[in-house]
Symmetry: D2
Subunit: 145 residues, 4 copies
């Protein structure tokens, strides 16, 4: 990797590295749809083993999808970054078989912290949850040059 | 179930019903340690398939544990209740093999909404995350009489 | 007011009523710049009596500006609405003399709850804080017909 | 100030310095009731100019009280500290004349960040709001030796 790589190529290299080493994202069957500097889009199909006792998708599964989209977007500049705090608003119940898409975008980046918004929509393009994550940058890279 | 059941017995009956119908909680190997009116304690062992690309526990798995503890505590009075919003602060990385305990307690209950605090600790009794959930009560019961 | 008023005219009538009866907004010298269905824009000049002991603007004053923008936007359809929960991320210190603008927009509205995002920027168009508010609709109107 | 001052005496010295230089806290008539390492208690009487257009206390005024209690508690060890993010849940309306007490306690402190919980109660000891704040420590002291 060169000293000044193309930001889009770098984001793709980081995402390729991440997805090859990401058991939890694989466990839940998430798929990376798009990646770029500061943004990412993932999808997840809600399966029977993701339901809670009320017969709808467990909030933790929706959070996990949003959190993965957050991770892919905030690491996309090859600065290793962790989540320090997140909030999620649940707006609509999600059913078995629903295809949920999480779209992450960067709202703020300065110093070592950033704020990212993730919108979760279903296959009818209804918003099912809104997630906001605060990132903290470590002093390390995701992929080496 | 009688019209005025013992609150502790009711909480146990509700939890027994929930845990028998809760695929996501089972998928992640959660165990219910304690239940009572307005409180619950669950544990989860972090396995290899819960890790993220940084080699630590995915935030979504920790959120899921907290969210389950939240659900068991806020449904414990046999009022069907859903999460409307949650926040989580991640304080320490969690490793494969760690045994995480989520302890939920009711901070406020009035009208149809409640606020619950869930503390996540590891096997060294270090706090690894703090979760706060807002509940919204539906017009239904969890178990019938 | 007619049964089906123009939404923009209704938003203006609601805002005019609110601002005439809003001591806290007046105390802090806020000014309403724009109003419409689901959105609002307010400004506030940071004065010496809004500073904290570190010599920068007290977080409560910035929250108050965001909260007012939230209130004007979520009441703009003449449904009396209250804040149930809010989060704020502070991104940059705000100095005496800074002119802060809060821009509120509706992210979700369904049933009796809504989610609103408020962005606070300074006179250099830098984002100084991000606020997200959850609203709960009462069974009342702001202005009568 | 000695190299190893008594923590309680240090907390009092810090608070005395802060309160002498805190215009916003004074503007809203807040009073410091108690201070110690990692905790603080402040009170505020709700006056007519703190009301919003619905005739109840403006959320920004309650947030400001909680935020001040947060600031006094997280600076109490003489490490200059700022708020990075806060959440507040509004539980009950607050009326003119109510005497609100904010009690801040430290939930977590590690590295440069901490988490503080602030409970707001009225004169009937009802909880009116719950606030959680995340702190970030600067490389400076509040008072010098």
């Amino acid at each position: 990797m060169t000293a000044h790589p193309d930001p889009q190529a770098l984001a793709q290299a980081v995402a390729a590295h991440m997805i090859a080493h990401d058991p939890a994202t694989r466990l839940l069957g998430m798929e990376l749809l798009a990646i770029g500097p500061g943004h990412a889009r993932l999808s997840m199909k809600v399966t029977a083993n993701m339901l809670n006792s009320q017969g709808v998708c467990h909030g933790g599964m929706l959070f996990a999808l949003a959190d993965s989209a957050f991770a892919y977007s905030c690491n996309s500049r090859n600065q290793a970054t962790v989540a320090s705090a997140c909030t999620i608003d649940f707006l609509r119940p999600v059913q078995e078989g629903d295809q949920i898409i999480a779209t992450a975008s960067e709202r703020s980046l300065g110093g070592r912290t950033g704020v990212y918004d993730i919108v979760l929509t279903n296959q009818r393009e209804e918003t099912v949850a809104l997630f906001r994550g605060k990132s903290y940058r470590l002093k390390a890279h995701v992929v080496s040059g």
